[in-house]
Symmetry: D2
Subunit: 336 residues, 4 copies
């Protein structure tokens, strides 16, 4: 950490900052400048909580050099990680993984039909929500455990591993029983207790970026899981909240190559939630693959017009098959 003193800070103020830093167990190294003094904080093994220092008299600002994560960073773990989900592999050197399926599990028939369609088109994993996070309490909240059973059945029938969202700790056991991969949704990205418990399971995890999470916070959330011993984390960019409302969220695609620089964890993209518009899903799927995504998560519904949730951003089975044809050519071009 670096402490920048005010232009007019007195010698006594500088000395007090140095004394406080040393009381906290670090070493303080003053760096005099032509306009002001800065003080380097050395000897810390990780992130320093600067709040005790920031408002000492004469301090203008504090600047962090260390980060709130370590195990997920490429700085400390240079080799890329590959995450295996029942034989499907996410990561460098692997063919990008296409996860597809409806937003929510509605009926046996709908799931089976969706699974058949996405399998036939070439998807490697099946998605479907049994527990749904909805803005208000007066809308469809998911089928619960009944839905999990339907999902497992559809996965088995189609031979696809399945991923589904966990919303509360008590659901972990049952979801681990029925699903191959746990999803932590955007709204729970900083539900730290859930992250910790997910980190204690042996299931691979799909961690979605929070609506207004910085990359630093996103990686720190992954660190919560990894720090508990579960290293099988796949990150997922799904759009961030900005002033622009013409799309549901703003797909922050630059995050893909950037996270590949900063972390060894695989990262995939969800163009359905990011854009919220069916007509943008295909083109942004291909852009995401070119940007280096290790996979995609795409909403597909046999009959989007009757979907109980997010129909506007769901592809039909036929639309998805068409996209998969285009993706297949693109992946060949990209050397997969």
């Amino acid at each position: 950490m670096l402490i920048v003193m005010h232009h007019h800070a007195t010698r006594a103020q500088i000395d007090q900052v140095i004394a406080t830093v040393e009381e906290l167990g670090y070493r303080a190294e003053p760096i005099p400048g032509s306009l002001r003094t800065a003080i380097g904080v050395l000897g810390n093994q990780g992130y320093v909580d600067d709040s005790t220092i920031r408002n000492l008299p004469g301090v203008r600002e504090t600047i962090h050099v260390s980060k709130p994560y370590k195990m997920v960073s490429r700085d400390f773990h240079p080799e890329p990680s590959v995450v295996d989900v029942s034989g499907v592999r996410f990561g460098d050197g692997e063919k990008p993984v296409i996860i597809a399926g409806p937003c929510s599990i509605e009926t046996e028939q709908q799931m089976l039909e969706a699974a058949t369609q996405v399998k036939a088109a070439g998807a490697q994993m099946l998605r479907g929500g049994a527990f749904k996070p909805r803005t208000g309490p007066h809308t469809f909240q998911g089928l619960g455990v009944e839905g999990l059973k339907i999902l497992q059945q559809a996965g088995r029938a189609s031979g696809l591993p399945v991923v589904t969202e966990v919303m509360r700790i008590e659901q972990l056991d049952v979801i681990c029983r029925y699903a191959d991969m746990l999803q932590v949704g955007a709204r729970n990205m900083q539900n730290f207790d859930l992250l910790k418990e997910v980190g204690k399971t042996e299931h691979p995890v799909l961690l979605k970026r929070g609506m207004s999470a910085t990359i630093e916070e996103f990686l720190a959330a992954a660190e919560y899981i990894v720090a508990e011993g579960n290293k099988r984390v796949v990150l997922c960019e799904r759009g961030i909240r900005t002033f622009e409302k013409a799309t549901r969220n703003t797909l922050d695609l630059s995050v893909v190559p950037l996270i590949r620089e900063m972390s060894h964890l695989p990262i995939i993209v969800d163009p359905s939630h990011a854009t919220g518009k069916r007509s943008l899903v295909s083109v942004m799927s291909k852009a995401a693959l070119v940007a280096g995504a290790h996979g995609l998560m795409i909403e597909v519904h046999p009959d989007p017009a009757k979907a109980l949730c997010d129909g506007a951003q769901s592809l039909t089975g036929a639309g998805f098959a068409e996209l998969m044809g285009e993706i297949s050519g693109l992946l060949q071009y990209l050397g997969h």
Copy 2:
């Protein structure tokens, strides 16, 4: 809901939209315009999930007239609510409630000292965190149940009701035993399962606005609690995340009069987390009261320079006493 058709939508497309609306159980009312046709959706009792309609051919956009909340809205419940917490009352016609105390409970001595200081200065409630949400896993995470006991003890010694944050459902029982009011933090504002369980308790709730939550989402989160039967919800504005980084968050003070128009629930302000800077806390506290806040939540630490968390935004006991002197004059001026 209103469905706006494209300028060039065909008669057949309009008819299909009407048929779909009626299939969903609503009544469709076409409104021809000079440039385009719109279709009103009537007969819905609440929020309509528009995703099935938004992407039908010829549809340009759908516009919601209903909201994802109802019980918390003033439209359906015009009289203001007063929330009582062990005798301390939040709401219209009541003197604004000042909640004060440290960010986190560190030691018996620290809490007792803080409680004595804030009580002496005139605070009506005591705060302190036993379970702390921290960006990364490698920093102080709170004392847990041990902290709750210290908090209760400090509250009893000073005669102040206490509020503390709940981060996971399993903590609810023990927190209800030790605390007078449950706090749901900003990062958990859309942890819907936590909201539902909090709604099943009989404890009053302090619900903080999520970092990037719209007012609509904020009220819908409160609706989750109220819909379970717990009507004693106090809202708390604590700053939103914007591009501006000179303050920790951007305090959205206009939300206070706006929520007072839209909802019957009391709303308070947390100037400490909103600004993140001690030097701004006092002045923004007073601005919040003038804006109509039903209370304030202020961080006070006997020795901020040694605080384990958020020292930079904490007032000292003396600083808080000075602020309370100013607040007392201001409240008198405001007629309380």
Copy 3:
């Protein structure tokens, strides 16, 4: 426009709204719903300024169906436009145009070297700034007219048309003399007087999206130019300002297919300003082309480490040549 009345609006309030709408010269069409009444405003030929209506008693909100632009919209001009700049063509059916060159014109030698490098690598246009918008007044502000001459010279030597930014109306004459295309920068996207004057010239225009401009505002800015008679406008997405600071801006790539749906004007992408990081430029360039961009604008400097501006996001000549090799393969794959 649609006016939504409050749940408890009285008959008299509804009548007053209808009367006001009619006074403004429109037709009012009440639409009774189960919970509330809405009032359609018909007969308007364009955007209705709703501010006179929004706060009448009983009004809850007003909703726009018309947009603040018309001539640039695909609704009213379905065929795509192709913009020709001295023989280089932007638009559907054309090979994407690569514009390259340094952020600012520094010396004859630097420009000539840059022009030679980008031409050799396959760029079709040359960029360089003579008038530079800089956050503070104490940094390099560009070479001015001297720079324009250097730019023209480098363009002629390499056979590339040139584009450069205009910052004030008085510069228009001289820039039109030396450059083939006028650039309006992000900070001036709502400098409406500049837009109008640019619209009176016969030069093609590159209009960059403002830092926090919505798509609607972006298109309305283009409408200012087109409404004056200059139809040769190329739009440019260059990243928007969000809470995320890990990249210089957030590249909003979904805007490319979305604007292609909404407008007939060509749209290109500037990955250099959007990301601000050299290591992200190549990958995001390719993603932009896959997203449907009609071109790219890339910063290239012979010696980025000594650039007077934006060196961190500039490619070297060699780096650009490598990227052009990759782009060439990609364009072939995309069918260009």
Copy 4:
């Protein structure tokens, strides 16, 4: 400036950074840490353009200690400035200045009526726009010079100095002839050429914060004016653009005490544009004064329902008189 090297940066990389810094004319001071090395850049008299350094091999990030402004900062000019506009004074120790009037000048009668109303209620200055920045070209753009004459006339009749917006450099002469104070609008806050020309006049300037301008950029924009010799700048917070759309903008009131810490220039608040809702204007006006604003700018229209622009946020004459009564009591309480 501080350069932070990567954890794994080699000695050769560190040496290259040092060499580059020294080539740029600064002194480099390495600061070895336990995890990584940082390099202080000393000897700079102002802001260092870091783009040449940021992407050298081994560099992780660069951190600015200096700012893009100096003359407007309190660091270098500790005494507060008072700005005099024809006898009306903005600044510390002065009674806050209330500027009022319509968004746009429409007719002689409207302006005279508005002037009479706001003068009678106690306003010290009159506002009114003759040149209007509008999102799209197809709406009312202002009366131009005719409007300026009406404004001057209304100002003289009521004895109030007048302020009006300048949108292009060529308007400066005529506006200086008719108005007492020049306003630079939010959309032109980074129209640097306009700022420079405004800085060459001898007229006081009201500089509005850009929609998405950071405080640093806001002060740097003021620096452009002051650097040209015109020191009479009054800053104006008018709300920033965020994800929240329930208010027109998000009023960032904490900026008031923060700018008072950082700069010696006076700062006022425009609650009308910030909130966009008449019902919020009064309460936020009072909150702004308590936050330390040196003045307010409030939209008042004799007949808001018929205003050509922004009627929804305009107070009536009677509403303004009521607010002024409340403000008068508040200012007395605040000791003015």
